[in-house]
């Protein structure tokens, strides 16, 4: 039984390439397109730069009212004002310390519990359901409870950030560990690796891409936790700056805070990319042969 053939029917349409008289043509390129790094970098930067230019143009031509969005000049002078008194550095440092401690605690717990749940059936049975329920509780809903437990001091702030950072870490590590190639794990078991040694030398290195992805998300969620934490009982920190701007209705400070957060997000992203390159050198070496 021959499937009788209508020319071109059922063919994936390809872009026409230069043809010859006998109907032959150069194979259309199906591989990956690679751009030169300089062009790639320029493309990446182009959209943020265009937004900046639009902002500057809108403000200087008077099309954007300073009450709606402070212009670049006003924001720069606000930045200079804060920097000259040394407040900016203090604020950023205070916030960075809180985030670092909170992320360390939250991500540490998330990593351990995620690995336990992903690695052992017993761990999954004991831990997973509870943590899925916990994950459904927005961490901001815990603010009143945490204040009644810890007061509004540093402990409260770090605990809130830790809780915020915990959830994505747990979820991604659990998925990452579950996604490790079972055949490789079977083989490693056959070579006598068990328990913690199996986890440390086979499973966690293989799940490292997921762990780094989790770290990236945890860090950005922890910035949200930071604002929430620093709105109460803080005298320094970027979140405190947001509160101040709100109280005094200082549009230039509001915009400055947004820019600081954007910059922090960029720095976090760059740091994680660097870490990915160092910690997972085998990626990007995959060839499709």
């Amino acid at each position: 039984m021959t499937a009788e053939i209508v020319p071109d029917a059922g063919t994936v349409r390809r872009r026409p390439a230069e043809g010859t008289a006998d109907g032959l043509r150069t194979p259309p390129w199906l591989g990956r397109r690679r751009r030169r790094p300089a062009i790639s970098l320029a493309l990446r930067a182009s959209v943020p730069l265009a937004l900046l230019v639009a902002w500057w143009w809108g403000a200087s031509s008077g099309r954007i009212s300073p009450d709606v969005l402070a212009g670049p000049g006003a924001v720069l002078s606000a930045l200079r004002e804060l920097a000259s008194t040394g407040q900016l550095a203090d604020y950023v440092l205070a916030s960075a310390r809180r985030v670092a401690l909170g992320v360390l605690v939250g991500c540490g717990a998330g990593l351990v519990l995620g690995a336990v749940a992903g690695l052992s059936a017993l761990g999954e049975e004991l831990v997973d359901l509870t943590l899925q329920m916990k994950r459904a509780v927005p961490f901001l809903a815990l603010v009143p409870l945490f204040i009644s437990w810890f007061g509004v001091g540093e402990t409260f702030k770090i605990a809130l950030i830790a809780v915020a950072a915990f959830a994505p870490m747990y979820a991604y590590v659990y998925l990452g560990v579950r996604g490790v190639d079972r055949k490789v794990v079977e083989a490693a078991r056959g070579f006598g690796l068990r328990g913690p040694r199996l986890a440390l030398s086979v499973v966690l290195p293989s799940a490292l891409p997921s762990v780094l992805m989790a770290l990236r998300i945890s860090l950005s969620v922890s910035l949200t936790g930071l604002i929430a934490a620093e709105q109460l009982g803080a005298t320094e920190g970027i979140g405190y700056l947001v509160t101040l701007a709100q109280q005094y209705y200082r549009n230039d400070y509001m915009v400055l805070c947004i820019l600081i957060y954007a910059l922090l997000g960029l720095l976090i992203d760059l740091a994680i990319r660097g870490l990915e390159r160092l910690a997972t050198p085998w990626r990007g070496q995959v060839t499709a042969r």
Binding site: T2, G10, V12, L30
Partner: protein
């Protein structure tokens, strides 16, 4: 379908491709016609797969012209099925819904009629590879590229799969380019066999044997043995009459069926 018996479907002139300092293809000329089965042999790392990838548009040549007929499909060493889609959806991947019947017919042709709704993970290695073959053939290719499609199959399944490919290629008559390590496979399937070494063809010869070439009958055919002997010698493996055991260092070049004494 004799009308396309002489149609050239692959034309390569002066193809050069280097990876870093290593030139894997150095001035390759190749012409394959519709209905012709061309097999390419060579030790690992000699650029057989690179040549195939250039033909598929997955690798850019550094120099030379590469022309193919417009409809080119590939079967790889692994089935490369989408695990999240059923067998029929894999066969008709990217085709309009109206082609589903054709997909079913093609599945029947590869011996998997009725398995349309199976998931790829439930198939054996040989079955998955037959789905991959159906996926390549349902597009009615003018050029069919086979990149060691039988290498991951067990010896018995491999013989059956070879017979199936020979039968389907004779029926659909694409120009076939097969890359393989297996001399016996090349001799059984191909109209023409070339050996690639150091970036160039060192052998390019026609295999004028009657078809079908059953595994049992060709094993003792003196003409087959002669082809086999010459190709193996060219590949650096001394034939059985010259040494008792196959050399261990390059055992990838001998077939799994061992050396026929």
């Amino acid at each position: 379908m004799s009308r396309d018996g002489h149609e050239v479907a692959v034309r390569v002139r002066g193809l050069r491709k280097a990876f870093g300092a290593k030139t894997v293809l150095d001035g390759i000329d190749l012409e394959v016609r519709r209905g012709e089965f061309f097999a390419l042999l060579g030790p690992s790392g000699t650029g057989k797969t690179t040549l195939l990838r250039v033909l598929a548009g997955l690798e850019r040549p550094d120099a030379g012209t590469v022309l193919t007929a417009p409809r080119v499909t590939t079967v790889y060493q692994e089935p490369r099925l989408v695990v999240a889609r059923r067998v029929l959806a894999n066969v008709t991947l990217g085709l309009p819904r109206s082609e589903r019947d054709k997909g079913s017919r093609m599945l029947a042709e590869v011996g998997l009629g009725g398995r349309e709704r199976a998931w790829p993970a439930t198939l054996s290695g040989g079955e998955a590879q037959r789905v991959a073959l159906a996926r390549a053939l349902v597009r009615d290719p003018q050029v069919l590229l086979l990149d060691e499609p039988f290498a991951a199959l067990d010896a018995l399944t491999r013989l059956q799969a070879q017979d199936l490919v020979a039968e389907l290629c004779a029926r659909h008559r694409p120009a076939v380019v097969l890359v393989t390590h297996d001399v016996d496979e090349a001799v059984r399937l191909a109209d023409r066999v070339a050996v690639l070494d150091d970036g160039a063809f060192v052998v390019d010869r026609a295999i004028d044997l009657p078809r079908p070439r059953g595994a049992a009958s060709t094993a003792s055919d003196p003409a087959v043995l002669e082809h086999r002997r010459e190709l193996l010698t060219r590949l650096g493996v001394l034939p059985a009459s010259d040494r008792v055991t196959p050399p261990s260092g390059r055992s990838g070049l001998t077939s799994d069926r061992g050396v026929i004494a």
